[in-house]
Subunit: 178 residues, 4 copies
């Protein structure tokens, strides 16, 4: 039995993309929950891995993405989620945390075989990442109050798909690292 | 602009897996539609690619899978969909048509960049395959009457996800190759 | 610690490809060694996995490839290496046994983490496959008398590269399963 | 026909790894050649992509790798090769520039289908990357005076393998972008 990591998806964000207006209220709601989850994971010694879209088009690095997000109009959604010295980083091309990224290699090198997925958005990147984790025989947990959505009905369907068809454990974030 | 292929997913099937009872009525409904679609695709010279789970555990080949399905109690769901001499075959490990398969290579070698996905089941393998096609910048069409489901509500959500979030064109099979 | 498998590369062959004339003498020399190795592996209960180029262009299956090779002018190089009922099969696109194939999935499902690579040709497919196994942290053994070559000098360099840079164990086939 | 990119492999380096002593003289020899090549590529508007081992263990980013290398005892081998504002970056896990990296995605998004590989070391990462490029049907050029080696004899064999078996064009760096 391996280790469990907290995977924080697409939360280093300037929120200037399509559908951002629809996402913002939900993001604002989950940020404190994600921050608390992160704190408890760190307290338990669980690795925290930030996986983020590469907004910088292969020129920027995660430090620059963070600086840009913290300088933008939605800094208050990013500041509570700042990485610490032990945080790990993976830049993704698009959608899934596994597509054309070194994440699978990083996980296997660190002996991690269980993932807690949080961040945004549940009916897209979280759903796709849960599938790609399941297909690789990794165990997936999704705390339903720590994932933001754009469309509530699709988010609900996504959670049921993950639970029923991808073997994911859907729970409350309070159940984790407490 | 490349070619369009018809991708027939998991229809060479003995229907003895979990949830088969729930799937059978929907499968029975789509088989004639898939058969007609296949006939029109072949008539237009479009490549037909069968992508199927490897029930044989890496010992069998697609000829044996077909023989076994045709000898089983649900042969009537398989016989109308038999491959012809020009059919192409890919065995998949699980779920997505792209996961650990040569499909991406086959498509690029044949100059195919548009996929029509039919078969089963829409809220699982079809959804996962549509995502993996979209992430690879392939164009996806899903004829809604040529895909079978296990759970109608998740199937409906899956079709909306494909249309809204994966750029898929959801249509009636009568719109294709006519 | 997992299991060891014997991987037989590109030996189901009609030998009508480029460079076949240069390959044939070396192939003829290794066939009896590969056959003996296969027999000992089977006797020890080790899985034997045939990985072969897909000469059939995604229309044929491994049974047809075998029939064609056995009906050709070089049947005597194929007959001693026929699969048995327990043999496993993977068709590859080109070069490496891992490129766009389900091999990594098959190995992990069967708990195999050590590979003995035999077949042809050592300075191409065997070298590339040893690299792709090493990069995936699989342990590799190459019996130098059970791998055929086209160019002797490149074959020698390939064996040194595998030993020095890819952590492979290069040995005599008599050291294995005896 | 797509664009050509210059790929600079593992040159942002602290040279404190195994075999570094053997590598240093060859690296010192190629640095001015790589720097000149880079200058001509930039002058022609060709994209320059740095692909580098992730020495930072998924905590650091390319800016930190560069700072560390420039602060070390071998800064003189790194300073002439500094990225400019248009440089692109990919961190790799190990060995090949394609293994678990977004490089293939980056290349296809930018319309690049021809690679000039330079850097180190020719009988390892350059060889593996040339293979992985060839297997993906990308065109490869290797300027022999812009690649460093650890073992001269294996480097020579690697260049012959790339030329003969991987369809690579091996040339002098003066032949490129002049």
């Amino acid at each position: 039995m391996g280790k469990t990591a907290l995977i924080v998806i697409d939360m280093i964000n300037t929120y200037d993309h399509a559908d951002a207006e629809l996402l913002l209220p939900s993001a604002a709601e989950v940020v404190p929950t994600v921050a608390a989850l992160m704190k408890r994971a760190r307290g338990s010694g669980a690795p925290v891995v930030y996986v983020n879209d590469n907004f910088g088009e292969w020129r920027s690095h995660h430090g620059e993405l963070l600086d840009k997000a913290l300088a933008g109009p939605h800094a208050s959604l990013v500041a509570p989620l700042k990485p610490d010295d032990k945080s790990l980083f993976v830049l993704k091309a698009r959608h899934s945390i596994f597509f054309e990224t070194p994440l699978q290699y990083l996980l296997s090198q660190q002996g991690i075989d269980r993932l807690v997925l949080c961040g945004q958005v549940v009916e897209q990147c979280i759903l796709y990442s849960a599938l790609d984790a399941h297909i690789r025989h990794l165990e997936v947990t999704v705390p339903r109050d720590a994932v933001a959505h754009i469309h509530a009905d699709l988010a609900d369907a996504a959670l049921r798909m993950m639970e029923r068809n991808m073997g994911a454990h859907v729970c409350a974030s309070d159940d984790l690292w407490t």
